[in-house]
Amino acid sequence: MTVAELLAIAPLVFVIGLAIALVVVDMIRPHDDRLIGIVAVVGLVVGLEVVLLANGDGTGVFGGAYVRDRLTFFLDLVFLAIALLTILFAPDYLRPRGLPMAEFAATLLFAISGAMLIGGARDLLVLFLGLELLVLPGYMLAGYAKRDGLSTEGAIKYFLLGSFSSAIFLFGLAFTWGYTGSTRVADVAVALQGVTGPGLSAGLAIGLALLTSGVAFKIAAVPFHYWTPDAYQGSPTPVTGYLSVGPKVAAFALILRLFVEALAPLKADWVDAIVILAAITMTLGNLVALTQDNIKRMLAYSSIAHTGYMLVGLAAFAGAPAGSPAAQAGLEGLLFYAAAYTFMNLGAFAVVTALQGRTGVTSQIATFAGLGRRAPLAGVLMTLFLLSLTGIPPTAGFFAKAYVILAAVQAGGWVSVLAVVAVLNAAAAAFYYLRVVVWMYMREAPDDAQPLTDSWPMKAGLAAAALGTVLFGLVPGVIIPTAQAAAQALLP
C-alpha cells in the first residue's frame, strides 16, 4: 500500500483502534468512567484532525472498493461529530443508572466505524458490510439498559425487524449484481446506462423495489417506520439521540453511494417511489407527532418527518434533468440538512438527557414545565433547538429546509408539489415543537421538580450543538462549500 492509500483508510482505522483502546483502558482501570470519557473525547478530536489531514482527493483503496473523496470527507466529519456529541452528553444519563460508560463508548464507536465504511464504499458488498457493522452495535445500544423491560423490548423489535430489512436489502443487491454482473459501483452504473424507461426488465424492477424498501426501513420512512417509536421510547435517552441521527445519516450515505452513484442511470424509474415516500413520511410523521405526550416518542415521530424533508432533497436530484443545477442543489441540500439535523436534534436530546440526570424523571412532556424559570440556560437552548427543528430563521434548520425546498421547486414537475407539501408540513410541525416551549415558559414547575445535571461534558456538548445550530443558520458559508464539493464528487 502506498502512503496515499494508508492515509485514505487512516480515519477508519483510527476509529476502530480507538474503540479497541477504550475496551483495553476499561480492562486496566475498570469502572473509571471519567478516564473513559477523556480518552474517548480526546480520541475523537484527534480523529477529526486525522480526517482533516486525510482530506479527500479521491484515492481509491482495496482495488477501488473504498474511496476517500470529498463526500467521504464530509460524511466522516458528520459521523465523528455525532459520536462526539453523543459521548459528551451520555455520561449524565448512564452514571446515575449504573450503566457502564466504557462498553457504551466502544459500541458506539464500532457503529460509527460502520457508518464511515458506508461513507466511502464503492462496492455493493462493502456497502452491505458497512451497513451491518453500523446496525449490529445499534441493536446492542438499544437494549443497553438490560434490566429495563422497555429497553429490551425495543431492542428486540429493532433487531428482528432490522434483520428482516437487511435481508430484503441484500436480496435487492443480489438482483442488481445478477443483472449487471458486477458489484463495483462504477461498473454497475456503466452497465445500467441506457436500460432505463419502459421495458426495464422485471428483475431489475423487483431489485429496485427491494433496495428501496430496505433503505426506507433504515431511514425510517413511512410505511417502514413501525420500529422507530418503540425502539426510541425504550432505549436509554442518549441512545435514542444517537439512533435518531447516526443510523439515519449513515443510511442516507448508503442512499448516496447506491442510488445516486450506482443506480443514477435508472433515476427516472425510482423517482416516483421517492416522491411518494417523502410525501407520506413527512405528513404522517408530523401528524402523529402532534398527539404525542411523551417527548421521546414525539421526537421519534418528528425524526420520521425530518427523514421526509431529507428525501425531498433526494427527489429533487432524481426529478431534475441530469447535470442541471437543481440536481446538484438537491444533493447539497440533503447533505446540509444531515449536518444541521445532527446538531439540532442531538442538542434537543442533550437537554432531555440533562433533565433526566436524576433517575425517576419520566419522558413526559410535563417534565419540561417551568424549565425556562428553573434552568434558564437549558430553557433557552431547548428553545433554540426546537425553533431550529421547526425551521425558523436564522437557525440551521430554517436554512436546511429552505435548501431542499428550493431545490425541489427548481426541479419542477411532480417534485415541486413536494415543496408545497413540505411547506405545509413545516407549518404544522410548529405546533408540537412550540408546545414544548409553552410548557417551558408558560407553566409553573411542579414543586418536586428535580434539578438538572450540569457536568462539564454536558455543558460542552450543549455548547457545541448550539454553536452548530446557530452558525449553520447565520453563516452557512462555513459548511456549504464542503457540501458542494461532496455533492460534486457524486456527479459524473
Binding site: L161, P198, D269, F399, Q484
Partner: protein, 656 residues
C-alpha cells in the same frame, strides 16, 4: 462607505442592546433599561442622518444599495445580505425609529414595577432590530427572515405576562394567524424564485415586468404570485379574514400595543405591498383584491369598534380599520396616500395607545371604559394629547390624519373606484363617532371609577407624559408639513418617483388638484361626515368645551334607546360578528377532530389493518404469545405488504 456603515449601525445597535440586556439585564434590577433605551436613542439619531441624506436626494432616485456579506453561497442559488435605502425606506425609518424611541422612554416609567422588565427591554430591542431589518432588506429572503422575526417578537411580547392564560392564548393566536399568512408568503417567494431566478427586489420586479411584456410569463402567473405574497401581508397587517389576532394582541403591555400593534409591525404588510408596487400594478385583478379586502376590513372593524367597552380594544379595531384604508388605497393605486396615512396613523395611533396606557395606569389597571369617566380634570396632559390624537383620527382639519385620509378618499374617487369611496366615507363617519365615544366615556361625564381607586387617580409620571407630548406634535402638524399644498406636498415629492412605474402600468397620471372643483367638494364631503359623526358622539357621550368652560352632558338613556332599537345589529357589533366563535368552531373543534381522526387513523386503521391481518393469520388460542411477539410479526407483515405494493408499483411503472 460612511453611509453603509451608518445603516449597518442602525441594525447593529438594537441587536447589541438585545444581547447585552439579555445577558446582564437581570442583574441590573430597576435599571434594566440602562442599555436598551440609550441604544435606541442613538439608533434614532443615526437613522435621522440616513433619512436626511435619503430625502435630500443624497442617494439619487434609486436609493442606496449595498451588500454586507454573502449569506448563502450555494452555486447559482446565492443570497446576499443586501440592504436598500430609498425614500420609501426613509419614511418608514422615521416612523419606526421615532415611535420606537418614544415607546422605549415611556416604558421606563410604565414597566418600572414589573419584575420582568429586563426581559421586556430585551424583547423590545430585538423587535427594533427585526423591524429595521424588515424595512432595510433588499431581497425577499432577508425580508422573510425579518418578517418571521417580528412575528416571533410579537408573540413573545403579547405573551409577556404569560402566567395570565388569556395572554398566553392571545400570543398563540397571533402566532398561528401569522403562520397561515406566512405559508402563502413563502409560497409566493418560491414562485418568484422559480419564475425569475432571483430574489433581489430590484432584479425580480424588473424581470417579472419584462417577462410579462415579452410574453414569457403569463398574466395569471403574475396575479398568482401577487396574491400569494399578499397572503403574508394580510396576516401581518391583520386584514380580513386573518384580522382576529390583533384585538386579542392587546393582552400585551400597552407600550407593546403602541409600538408593534399600532405603529410599526402591522404596517409591514402595507410597506411590503408598496415595496412590491411594480409587481402588483401589473395585475389589475390582484389590485382589485387588495382594494376589496382593505375596504371590507375597514368597515367591518369600524362597525365593531362602535360598541366595544375595553379602551384598548376600541383602539385595536380602529387600527384594523385604518389599515384597511391603507390597503384600499394601495389597491386603487394611491400609493403615496397609503404611505402618508401609514405615517400619520403611526404617530397618531402610537399617541392614542400610549395615552390609553397612561389612563389605564391612572385608574389602576382598569381597561373597561364603563368604569372610567370624568378623568380630564385629573389627567390634563393625557387628556389634551389624546384629544389631539382623536381629532386627528376623526379626520378634522388641519390635523395629520385628515390630510392622509382625505387623499385616500379623493384618489379612490378620481381613479374610478366609486364603491371604495362610498364605503370609505361611511367608515370616516364611524371613525369620528367611535373615537369620541371613547373620549366621552373615558374623560367626560360623571366618574364611574371604582370609589376605592378614585382618590388616588393622578397624572402619570414625566417619563410617560413627555413621550405623549412629543407624539402629539407630529399627530397635529405632520399633515400640514407633508400634505400641503394639496396634491403637491412634500410626501408626494419624496415618494412619487418610487411609484412612477406602477402609475405608468396602471395608466394613472397625476392631475393637478382643483381645490375649487372636484377635490374641494370631496374634501368638504369628508369633513362634513366626520363632523357629523363627531357631533353625534358628543351629544350621546358628553364633552368638555375648553373655551366655553362648560360641559355637554352624557345621555346614557338615549344610548340605551338607540341600541334597543336595533338589537340585532348591536349584538352583531358587540360580538364582533362572531368571528371568534366561527374560528373556534372551524379550527379548534373541527381541526382538533381532524387531528384526532388522523391519530386514530394511524392507530386503528394503519396499525389496525396490520394487527387485524395478523389476527386472522395467527388465529385464536395463542393470545398470550401474541402479546409477547405478535406486534413484531405484525410490523414485519406490514413491511412485507409495503414491499409487495412497492414491487408491484415498480413493475407497473417500468412496464408501461
Amino acid at each position: 462607505m460612511p453611509m453603509e456603515l451608518l445603516v449597518t449601525l442602525v441594525l447593529a445597535l438594537p441587536i447589541a442592546g438585545f444581547g447585552l440586556t439579555a445577558l446582564v439585564g437581570r442583574r441590573l434590577g430597576t435599571r434594566a433599561w440602562i442599555v436598551a433605551v440609550p441604544a435606541i436613542v442613538v439608533t434614532w439619531a443615526i437613522a435621522m442622518v440616513v433619512v436626511w441624506t435619503a430625502l435630500s436626494g443624497g442617494f439619487g432616485t434609486d436609493g442606496l444599495h449595498f451588500t454586507l456579506y454573502q449569506w448563502v453561497p450555494a452555486g447559482d442559488f446565492t443570497i446576499e445580505a443586501n440592504f436598500a435605502v430609498d425614500n420609501l425606506t426613509a419614511v418608514l425609518l422615521i416612523v419606526v425609529t421615532t415611535v420606537g424611541m418614544l415607546v422605549h422612554v415611556y416604558s421606563i416609567g410604565y414597566m418600572a414595577h414589573d419584575p420582568g422588565r429586563w426581559r421586556f427591554f430585551a424583547y423590545l430591542n430585538l423587535f427594533m432590530f427585526s423591524m429595521l431589518l424588515l424595512v432595510l432588506a433588499g431581497n425577499f429572503m432577508l425580508l422573510f427572515a425579518a418578517w418571521e422575526l417580528v412575528g416571533l417578537c410579537s408573540y413573545l411580547l403579547i405573551g409577556f405576562w404569560y402566567p395570565r392564560p388569556s395572554a398566553a392564548i392571545a400570543a398563540k393566536k397571533a402566532f398561528l394567524a401569522n403562520r397561515v399568512g406566512d405559508v402563502g408568503f413563502a409560497l409566493g417567494i418560491f414562485a418568484v424564485w422559480t419564475t425569475v431566478g432571483t430574489l433581489n427586489f430590484t432584479d425580480a420586479f424588473e424581470r417579472l415586468s419584462e417577462g410579462l411584456a415579452g410574453g414569457q410569463i403569463e398574466a395569471w402567473a403574475i396575479t398568482g404570485i401577487a396574491l400569494l405574497l399578499f397572503c403574508g401581508a394580510v396576516g401581518k397587517s391583520a386584514q380580513f379574514p386573518l384580522h382576529v389576532w390583533l384585538p386579542d394582541a392587546m393582552e400585551g403591555p400597552t407600550p407593546v400595543s403602541a409600538l408593534i400593534h399600532a405603529a410599526t409591525m402591522v404596517n409591514a404588510g402595507v410597506y411590503f405591498v408598496a415595496r412590491a408596487n411594480p409587481l402588483f400594478s401589473l395585475s389589475p385583478e390582484a389590485m382589485f383584491v387588495v382594494a376589496a379586502i382593505g375596504i371590507f376590513t375597514a368597515i367591518l372593524a369600524a362597525s365593531i369598534a362602535l360598541t366595544q367597552n375595553d379602551i384598548k380594544r376600541v383602539l385595536a379595531y380602529s387600527t384594523l380599520s385604518q389599515l384597511g384604508y391603507m390597503f384600499a388605497s394601495l389597491g386603487v393605486g394611491a400609493y403615496v396616500a397609503a404611505i402618508f396615512h401609514m405615517t400619520a396613523q403611526g404617530f397618531t395611533k402610537g399617541l392614542l395607545f400610549l395615552g390609553s396606557g397612561s389612563v389605564i395606569h391612572g385608574v389602576h389597571e382598569e381597561q373597561d371604559m364603563n368604569r372610567m369617566g370624568g378623568l380630564w380634570r385629573r389627567m390634563p396632559i393625557t387628556h389634551a394629547t389624546m384629544l389631539v390624537g382623536s381629532l386627528s383620527m376623526a379626520g378634522i382639519p388641519p390635523l395629520a390624519a385628515f390630510f392622509s385620509k382625505d387623499e385616500i378618499l379623493g384618489e379612490a374617487f378620481k381613479n374610478g373606484f366609486l364603491w371604495v369611496w362610498l364605503v370609505g366615507i361611511v367608515v370616516a363617519a364611524l371613525t369620528a363617532f367611535y373615537m369620541f365615544r371613547l373620549m366621552g366615556k373615558t374623560f367626560y361625564g360623571p366618574s364611574h371609577v371604582d370609589p376605592a381607586v378614585e382618590p388616588h387617580v393622578r397624572e402619570s409620571p414625566r417619563s410617560m407624559t413627555v413621550p405623549l407630548i412629543l407624539l402629539a406634535i407630529p399627530a397635529a402638524l405632520l399633515g400640514l408639513v407633508l400634505g400641503l399644498p394639496f396634491g403637491a406636498g412634500l410626501i408626494g415629492q419624496w415618494l412619487e418617483p418610487i411609484f412612477e412605474e406602477a402609475q405608468l402600468n396602471l395608466g394613472l397620471h397625476h392631475e393637478p388638484v382643483q381645490i375649487l372643483g372636484v377635490d374641494g367638494v370631496l374634501i368638504l364631503v369628508s369633513v362634513a361626515v366626520a363632523t357629523a359623526g363627531l357631533a353625534v358622539a358628543i351629544r350621546l357621550f358628553g364633552f368638555h368645551w375648553p373655551l366655553r368652560g362648560d360641559d355637554t352632558e352624557a345621555q346614557p338613556e338615549r344610548v340605551a334607546a338607540l341600541t334597543a332599537r336595533a338589537p340585532r345589529l348591536y349584538r352583531a357589533s358587540f360580538r364582533k360578528w362572531w368571528f371568534d366563535e366561527l374560528n373556534d368552531l372551524l379550527f379548534v373543534r373541527l381541526g382538533g377532530r381532524v387531528a384526532h381522526f388522523i391519530w386514530w387513523f394511524d392507530r386503528a386503521i394503519v396499525d389496525g389493518t396490520v394487527n387485524g391481518i395478523g389476527d386472522v393469520v395467527q388465529g385464536a388460542g395463542r393470545d398470550l404469545r401474541r402479546i409477547q411477539t405478535g406486534r413484531v410479526q405484525n410490523y414485519a407483515l406490514g413491511i412485507a405488504i409495503a414491499l409487495i405494493v412497492m414491487a408491484g408499483g415498480f413493475l407497473i411503472v417500468t412496464a408501461r
